[in-house]
Assembly symmetry: C2
Homo-oligomer: 522 residues x 2
């Protein structure tokens, strides 16, 4: 058999690779078979199989956050794509570039409303900055180039719908027609009013300043340069600074300042923000409460108190540095933080302390779940230098696949997924891919056998938790056995109930350099 | 604390219960908390918790297929709903009534584009016959009534988006405004041209007739009455009859005719259909190939050879009976089928034979996955009377949750999920709910450690399977240990490699009457 090296599907793979998109997180079906066949003839492409699509999209998010380049996802029609929407929602909030490729029925088959037919565009638009249906075989190449561009410039998912008949068609050289763009690259709703003179004047005349630092890559306020500059400004202005509540990516650990995250609930967030007469947004969006809470405004800082130094995606680090220089801020001195001590039965604080102590240099920590996430973020200022990734869009089931994608993106860097039992169930199939690819991911599952966040919300204002509401938020009868679950997917696993046990297990996990899951009984 | 018995959320629960919707498959979040609180004050409502939303929607599909009444789903915002879209797609193809209730941000919070904000309507429309955003607290009751009506009449998912502030608001009696319907109940695109005289004439003048029988409840062609009448017509006319390829529900087993399903691939389907000069659609849609295949038409039977006896949802059984009477067809005589024998190592045929032999009276069998699904359907004519449910929309990950929902719908009936390892991973979390509710579901997993359907498609026409394509369709390195996986979720489990082992395990499973998983090594 001769392999079809010149199909539009093969051309799409090759042009994506040329554009730097060489990693695919895939769960293909019958309408993607010519893309599968194309992998056979296209070298230099890595395909990582996921057993459920939200694993693929979450992994593409983790990959994109760490590299700044898009990964591709390969998804099957509307229902397969739909399975991956939740983590594409998170990726959209993280401004992660991703190129989704969805196979569709042959164009001539579509009108017959076969069982798997659905309105893919309607499903794709809410999580894609750009959606394009490939209109012919010759449209595949320009469409692929435009998808990469839209994805990178817009910091958004770009979605290509690729009918099966066009995938299979042979390409005649040179017959490439420009793609019709169905949506253009999104521009910011609030282009940063970066007027250095005005900014300087507002900053020097303010009495109480809060800096709000947005996450992202090296140019973001939560890269190393941005944080150092922010620390200089804090020292010069007597300001306070916070990371946004859910940064897509933040550098953390020894040698860096220890900016806490803006609190999640409105009361503590307002305690920070209300007294400020100026809130400087350095790559962060204006702070908005996560949900609507009676008695609290949605936008926590009115427009008049905001200074937009940099919008997300802009050069926040550069502007912070320039501001610090202009204000003749003192040089950055790395603070010293003692590592917290802990012993006895495991508590969230104990987990945070042990992990901060054990964390290897240059680790990546994917944090999802409130139980241990907040304590670790606080404790991790004293840890070795590492990168933290958080859940940007609130669609849970993101921590494990993001860790997977980050591990694929950064060979050689140890990866930790610090997750909770409730949220981890949504994409539990990630464990298989982590084992299959033998990725050095240590999964720490905080097992409290409940949807703790919901109980916290139900108890807000001192309300009692009713019996039925308690049952609806319990992961009990039976308790999930995380050790057996991990082993079923080929991941080594153990269970810890004390700080000492966790310390031993973590030491073993990090030195093994292979997948490991630790169930932490809390 | 006094519980808020008079909130709009509580009113919605109560009016749904009045309308016969008393079972909820739920995965709530912070924007559904007043609906959770309402459960506390609303008796007669059963809430079944799912750990991922596609479990909830698939279970609602299984419930609706068995009862003919909608279950409700409780889902969290756009991303939570998105996780459940795939099985809502299947439910739409099965014409299963379902009422989805999605909490959304407080209406006054929505403009601020908080992290979890998304275009829920755009996500919901492709899988909902009717979508309505509740516009005020007083809209909740009429909207709930209309949702049930739309869902039942349209045989479709009806989706209610319920902003959190309206959920929490108190209702003042009598202030109920009629809901504005944003879409009306869908009517059939092809109302059946049921003209008895013309039908009779076309049927009596045709030489070679194929009856195509659509699935559904008692009035469908695949209920007991419909099948008996179809068998009489087959005898009278020398016709052949097939079930549609993926019936939502079909009665099967001893005392009934043994109609095979229309083959999946176009070649054998055409071998059946091409020679016919009349294809009578009894509650089935015109046959369309599952995917587009070069060299085959999409619609396998052109309009001129079709006779629409009944559209899906219409009284196919009644019309088949009337036709049989008019043609003075002979009385139905139940055929005798020998139970197939099997021994040795497990094969799909062996699985089918053993299951057909062991199946208890009145079992419900949820079939997903080609490996054992087709052989069992063939063998099951000789089994005890049972109900078969298949994957109607091709979104895989449906077999397990549909079994779950059917078990909730039909207490006392044993349930079998006959599934494959590839598709079952998509909604593996179903196992926890099956254990939590202690449902008598025996899960049979055909573990061949590959996406066999994709390999079959790749090999069509004699093509060789390339090494990379093979890797992309392998569930190997590691193989999933289904026994440990089931036990992790609290489900008893065993592994079988021979017919004798499966026979023993099935006997134990059915007599135990509690959840059990059997990994079948194929």
């Amino acid at each position: 058999m001769t392999l079809p090296a010149n199909t539009a599907a093969a051309a799409l793979l090759q042009v994506l690779r040329e554009e730097g998109v060489d990693t695919w997180f895939a769960n293909p079906g019958t309408t993607e078979l010519d893309l599968v066949r194309a992998v056979e003839v296209c070298d230099g492409v890595r395909v990582v199989l996921g057993l459920q699509e939200n694993v693929c999209t979450g992994a593409a998010d983790g990959y994109g956050r760490m590299t700044g380049r898009p990964a591709a996802t390969l998804l099957h029609l509307g229902p397969g794509f739909a399975n991956g929407i939740a983590n594409l929602h998170n990726a959209r909030r993280a401004r992660t570039p991703i190129v989704n490729v969805i196979g569709d029925h042959a164009s001539w088959h579509l009108p017959y409303d076969a069982p798997l037919t659905s309105d893919i565009e309607s499903l794709a638009r809410p999580v894609s900055g750009w959606v394009h249906r490939i209109a012919s075989a010759s449209d595949a190449v320009p469409a692929a180039r435009e998808a990469v561009r839209q994805s990178v410039v817009g910091g958004q998912g770009a979605t290509l719908i690729f009918p099966a008949d066009f995938q299979a068609e042979g390409l005649v050289g040179g017959a490439l027609v420009p793609t019709a763009t169905t949506q253009t690259v999104g521009t910011s709703d609030h282009p940063a009013q970066w007027n250095p003179a005005t900014a300087l004047e507002r900053i020097t005349s303010a009495r109480r300043i809060v800096l709000l630092l947005g996450g992202g890559g090296e140019r973001s306020a939560l890269g190393e340069r941005g944080q150092r500059a922010a620390a200089r400004l804090v020292a010069r202005l007597g300001a306070t600074a916070f990371a946004e509540t859910f940064p897509s990516r933040a550098e953390r650990g020894r040698g860096l300042p220890a900016f806490d995250r803006l609190p999640y609930f409105p009361e503590p967030a307002r305690a920070v923000l209300d007294p400020a007469d100026l809130v400087v947004l350095a790559g962060a969006l204006p702070p908005v409460t996560y949900f609507g809470y009676e008695g609290h405004p949605s936008q926590l800082v009115e427009e008049g108190r905001l200074l937009r130094l940099a919008d997300p995606g802009e050069d926040a680090a550069g502007r912070l540095e320039r501001l610090a220089d202009q204000l003749e801020a003192p040089a950055f001195v790395a603070p010293e933080f003692p590592l917290a001590a802990a012993e006895g039965a495991l508590t969230p604080q104990g987990v945070a302390a042990v992990l901060a102590r054990r964390l290897p240099q240059d680790a990546i920590v994917s944090v999802e779940g409130g139980t241990c996430g907040y304590p670790f973020y606080a404790a991790s200022a004293a840890a070795a230098r590492h990168t933290a990734l958080t859940n940007t869009g609130g669609a849970i089931g993101q921590g494990l696949p993001v860790a997977l994608g980050a591990a694929v993106a950064c060979p050689g860097r140890p990866v930790v997924a610090l997750v909770s039992d409730g949220s981890t169930q949504y994409t539990i199939q990630s464990l298989w891919t982590i084992a299959h690819e033998n990725l050095p991911v240590v999964v720490l599952v905080a097992a409290n056998h409940q949807y703790a966040i919901l109980r916290n919300e139900l108890r807000r204002g001192g309300a009692a938790l009713g019996a039925r509401a308690e049952a609806m938020t319990a992961l009990e009868r039976p308790r999930i056995d995380w050790v057996q679950l991990a082993r079923a997917y080929g991941v080594e696993a153990s269970r810890c109930g004390t700080v000492a046990e966790l310390d031993t297990a973590l030491g073993a996990g990090f030195s093994a350099g292979r997948p490991m899951l630790i169930e932490m009984s809390l």
